[in-house]
Symmetry: C2
Subunit: 363 residues, 2 copies
């Protein structure tokens, strides 16, 4: 396949940014890109997806549709994605056709397989909990013996917001857990006795420059993120340890764009829980807490612009609005310090991310 | 014509906001509306206008096209406009068809005619320079005698960014000036010995509530706004006088939405220069200086939501990027405290507003 000539970064305003995925992350990315004068093209199988409704162009096609991918690659000066389960073959097709794709295939492949991800993380010195690959019930029994209970069984691939995982608290749970993950290739992770979950949102440009936002502290309910408080209270050594981890991960993946890294704070050290090769729900606080939010930062990184500032000018409590909670817009609209971000989704199914609110505390 | 039943404010997310005009003001309005979960429909004669490229729907039609207007009215829960020279008949047609239009016809009619505007302003106690309507060369001579030189001749209708106006410094200028305004119905305004131009961006909701941002100080070059510094240095009485003027104007017009009011600061008092019944270039600083910017404020007002907070959390220097100055994006992208806002316009004709930059100074 001929490699098309295309503009090299820094991309000038008017250049087209292609996005695989038309959900809320693509939508907020599109808004940031438009503000910098870029055109946005969204590829999503769903017509009138949240992102397509704020973008100049949309391609309605499956994520593995060759014609759709080729068109996206042809019209875009750089292509990115809003979720990590984009088929690797799609990104390979885009790259083979001459498209500039960021983050690159290595980040995607690593983040798509929990065993590959943890293996990579430990190889660059970003420590995780102990883990064992699990391909059978026998593997699971052996892994549990090796790691000790309780341990968490997760599918190697896919699964998000707590889906596709099960706790194994004793030998008696083994068979139930194995069925719970669909008897699919999995990973058993040792339990971590952490005090809290933190996350760091960081970015790396084509030139290797990196930048990281202050830490966020996250609270989950039923496996789904409920709130992020940021900047989190953290001593200097914790902050520095998180930045060191981010730099190791970004450089190790030769990464371009924004990444979200979830961390377990054990009190005396940090372990990496998981990485998301994209803008991240725990970074939404930056929209109202920083001059340059994570969405603009991602666009800057992939467009080859200098990274923006990452300091916070306010303390933010970000709360997700899940399913019918979006009806709280009536009250939230009247809270002076509540900045609402709604995603334009129609059906408010329970647990569905419909929007979020950033409550601003200055001082 | 039957009046259609339509949703009453407060409009729920998912409601459609129709905008007459697809330029940069409509674009930034659309971005704010999307963030609150609204759908945006843009009516503009130009395909792929700046605003249409970030909006869910576009109607390509002239501003006086009956079919286009009827369609906009039918699909919109509220209709607004981004420029004051929308034909009054178009707004009347929309209203007659049952559309909710904000700001209303009175604000539009008042702002479209400089004599009506100044007459209204003085009637509510918002003082302006002295002025005389001018319909002929004889009128102009008499008006100059009455007001004294120098005085400024402007067409009564249309004209912006210094177009359609001429200074009259002596009797000798009279004929040249009259030709310069195209021998059209005009207004002669007495010169004002002002120290600086200020502006106040204010809003009023359907319920009559009002809110005003801190003052901005404006500098023009060649009749076009160059920079706004905000919040402007101003003593408490100046700030209060400006707020009083804003309240008189908003209430006097039974206004709904954001208004821009330009003021001459004479040192001991303020005179109103002109009003713009829409979001305003001198309010762009609010995007990076306030939690709720003028665009969100306008959307909140017309959608019947409570008005947002208007306090500033940073000091901003807003600079317009005119014509080829937009090429400065390369340098500006690397200035950490410069937030770029580009409008996605293709052709950088001299003087054309292509974008702006907000430089943030905290302190």
């Amino acid at each position: 396949m001929a490699v098309a000539a295309r503009r090299q970064p820094p991309l000038a305003p008017g250049a087209v940014i292609g996005v695989l995925g038309g959900g809320q992350l693509g939508r907020m990315m599109a808004e940031a890109a438009s503000r910098l004068g870029f055109e946005v093209a969204i590829l999503d199988p769903q017509p009138r997806s949240p992102a397509a409704r704020v973008a100049a162009r949309q391609i309605i096609a499956a994520y593995d549709d060759p014609a759709g991918l080729d068109e996206l690659g042809r019209i875009s000066d750089v292509v990115t994605f809003e979720f990590e389960n984009v088929p690797a073959a799609s990104v390979e097709r885009l790259a083979a056709g001459g498209a500039l794709v960021a983050p690159g295939p290595k980040a995607l492949a690593t983040a798509q397989d929990r065993v590959a991800e943890k293996t990579f993380l430990n190889s660059v010195g970003a420590t995780t909990v102990n883990f064992r690959p699990v391909d059978s019930l026998d593997d699971l029994r052996a892994a549990l013996k090796g790691l000790g209970a309780p341990a968490l069984l997760k599918t190697r691939r896919e699964g998000y917001d707590g889906k596709g995982q099960a706790w194994v608290r004793s030998d008696a749970d083994v068979e139930t857990a194995w069925r719970a993950v669909g008897e699919r290739p999995s990973i058993l992770e040792a339990g971590a006795d952490f005090r809290r979950e933190l996350s760091i949102i960081a970015a790396r440009g084509w030139d290797g420059a990196t930048a990281a936002y202050p830490l966020g502290e996250n609270r989950h309910e039923g496996g789904i993120l409920r709130t992020t408080l940021a900047p989190a209270e953290a001593d200097r050594s914790t902050e520095q340890a998180a930045r060191d981890i981010a730099a190791k991960v970004l450089n190790g993946l030769d990464y371009v764009g924004v990444i979200g890294i979830e961390l377990f704070d054990l009190g005396d050290r940090l372990l990496v829980n998981e990485i998301a090769p994209r803008v991240h729900n725990t970074g939404h606080w930056t929209q109202d807490g920083c001059a340059c939010d994570q969405f603009e930062q991602h666009v800057r990184a992939i467009a080859g612009w200098p990274l923006g500032p990452t300091t916070a000018h306010a303390w933010i409590e970000m709360t997700n609005l899940l399913g019918p909670e979006v009806e709280r817009w009536r009250d939230l609209a009247g809270e002076p310090d509540a900045r609402l971000h709604l995603y334009g989704k129609g059906e408010a199914r329970p647990g569905r991310k419909m929007g979020h609110v950033n409550r601003i505390r200055r001082g």
